[in-house]
Symmetry: C2
Subunit: 341 residues, 2 copies
DNA sequence: CTGTTAGCGCCTTCAG
DNA sequence: CTGAAGGCGCTAACAG
């Protein structure tokens, strides 16, 4: 099939026997002007006959405004991010905007690049999900990129760790982890291990720090050898638990800083021929919907990821507002994975 | 902070004391022309000083080609789709394209609308994941929308069920389900139930049909009362298994047409105070990565979703090619959920 | 190698 | 209520 050249609005206008301006007003109803019914009819028919479709790019250019928003995540395949993405997409759809999805693949440099890419596309707003990685350099570059986008009228919102002066939906990671620690303590557990995630990952850091500080206040601090770093993934959880296996006799519960890691940790326990929670309890963080049916049920901190995504988009679009930070608190969910033997 | 007006390429040109064209060539290197080093240097410096960023929309318009592709899924929060999305995004990124994500929310009408939306945005290619729903009307509308996009030079590829004349990565749903049936038969199971999904859902239909046909060939057809329709979700699986509970004594294994449904089905078994696989075996389809660690391990048909997403994008971008259909076969994975008691 | 000049497709004042 | 004309920011012939 030959690539026919697309019909343009002038083609439609000519076909309908009206001017370009009238055709434009008929098809995309101007805010102020109105078109006589019969003319509008003619235009619409002509457009249908020609199979005309407006060019969103040209419209964006003429109007000086696009109809899309950007979403930056580390990895869509991770249920944490895909749930957030669902929230952002739904909220965007509600206001007639399309979502451009970009993945950092856990590379902080790409995060900056993607913000710039999205800025180039003149996204109306950019939502950055996913914990900031990298050191101060990256944070500064990111701040600059964000500032550039905002200065020229684009909105931005962060999910997770806030950054100075930028609207954000912040998870109370340390508070949630602390609440989890207290709940486990209330349930009678006393000896804790932690699979802590990467040292340079802020979310991981806040979660493990909040957990350990709460323990300290309760007078049952986790021993240093019971706190192991790991990758921020299922496999990281598996490896972390494997490292803790020799100490299992000294532990009641191991806290992995994400559900995905906790699942990996549970697999490691099973592969060692042991049982959760009989030999050791396991707790996670996030309450990923897809994982709510695993057995034993995973004790965790529920985070309303979908709502967070939706709210972040709204924050990002509220251009006039002052930078605003909404803090979302998680809710401890005790399940069988930490039942006392 | 005031919304400063964005610097344009002419601002940069003026600042650098060169012509618009030179600035353009210096910044976005023209394929044919080249710019003297010192001039290019001046331009780049001016651009940096002004914090100039090219406007992707304007470039798209001038070049007559955008740098984005569209992806249509039912629901990104569903791990099936998020894994596909990861594949599409990675492949797009490799060739420097951005992905616009659109969700049908399981509404076939929206599917058509989204194709049109993406066409309006002049997406270089559109990947449609997710089984076609709805009847012949919708299929026809969709075919028309797709044809419109292709006629004007855009690529399209489907994932799942093919449509006549459209490139596709087709899952061999019925073949995979048949292989599963044979594998379960080989393992000694004889009495099967099926949680079949929605009647109008093609993927679900092919999977259950393939499964049942293979059983028939093996001489052990599933009784009609052991085949229950359901929603295409975790809750659908739960409800389906609940409906089968009264018949559990007559069944060795229940096949749910997706892993997510299988997980719901397993939860229903547990909630009834029974055990998988002792009281009944459960099998799914997809081999969702996030669910690979559940216990008992879920017997399923592995589908390389990520690769499928990547390949679909490549098919969609290969505009010159003949309509081509790639069939991907699943691989049966037997795990403990169907271990014989 | 550089500059000038048309558009790309559409919206939007501004006249009529 | 309609039409003509300018411009959005950039690229790509076309001259110089």
């Amino acid at each position: 099939m030959p690539v026919r050249t697309r019909p343009t609005l002038s083609d439609v206008a000519r076909e309908a026997g009206v001017s370009l301006a009238t055709a434009s007003r008929a098809i995309n109803g101007s805010p102020t002007r109105t078109v006589r019914a019969d003319l509008r009819e003619r235009v619409l028919e002509a457009a249908a006959r020609l199979e005309y479709t407006p060019d969103a790019n040209a419209q964006a250019m003429a109007r000086g405004q696009t109809t899309s928003v950007g979403l930056v995540v580390h990895d869509v395949a991770d249920p944490y991010f895909s749930t957030i993405a669902a929230g952002v997409t739904a909220a965007a759809d509600d206001v007639g905007l399309a979502v451009t999805l970009a993945e950092t693949r856990h590379d902080p440099r790409r995060e900056v690049d993607l913000v710039e890419l999205l800025h180039r596309q003149r996204a109306r707003a950019i939502v950055l999900a996913g914990g900031r990685l990298g050191g101060a350099d990256r944070a500064e570059e990111l701040t600059r990129a964000i500032a550039g986008h905002r200065r020229s009228g684009g909105g931005v919102a962060l999910i997770g760790q806030p950054l100075p002066e930028v609207p954000a939906v912040a998870l109370d990671n340390s508070g949630g982890a602390a609440a989890l620690a207290r709940a486990l303590h209330d349930a009678g557990h006393r000896r804790f291990g932690v699979i802590a995630g990467p040292a340079d990952h802020l979310t991981a850091r806040h979660r493990q720090a909040g957990f350990r500080e709460a323990l300290a206040e309760l007078g049952t601090a986790a021993a240093p050898e019971h706190v192991v770093p790991s990758e921020f993934s299922r496999d990281g959880g598996y490896a972390g638990m494997t490292a803790l296996l020799p100490h299992l006799g000294e532990l009641d519960v191991v806290f992995a800083v994400t559900d995905l890691m906790a699942v990996g940790a549970m697999a490691a326990v099973r592969d060692a021929g042991l049982t959760v929670p009989t030999d050791v309890g396991v707790a996670g963080f996030d309450d990923i919907p897809t994982l709510r049916d695993i057995t034993p049920g995973l004790t965790t901190v529920r985070v309303p990821l979908r709502e967070i995504g939706a709210q972040a988009l709204q924050l990002a679009l509220a251009l006039e507002q002052e930078p605003r930070v909404v803090v979302v608190r998680g809710e401890v969910v005790l399940r069988d994975s930490t039942a006392r033997p």
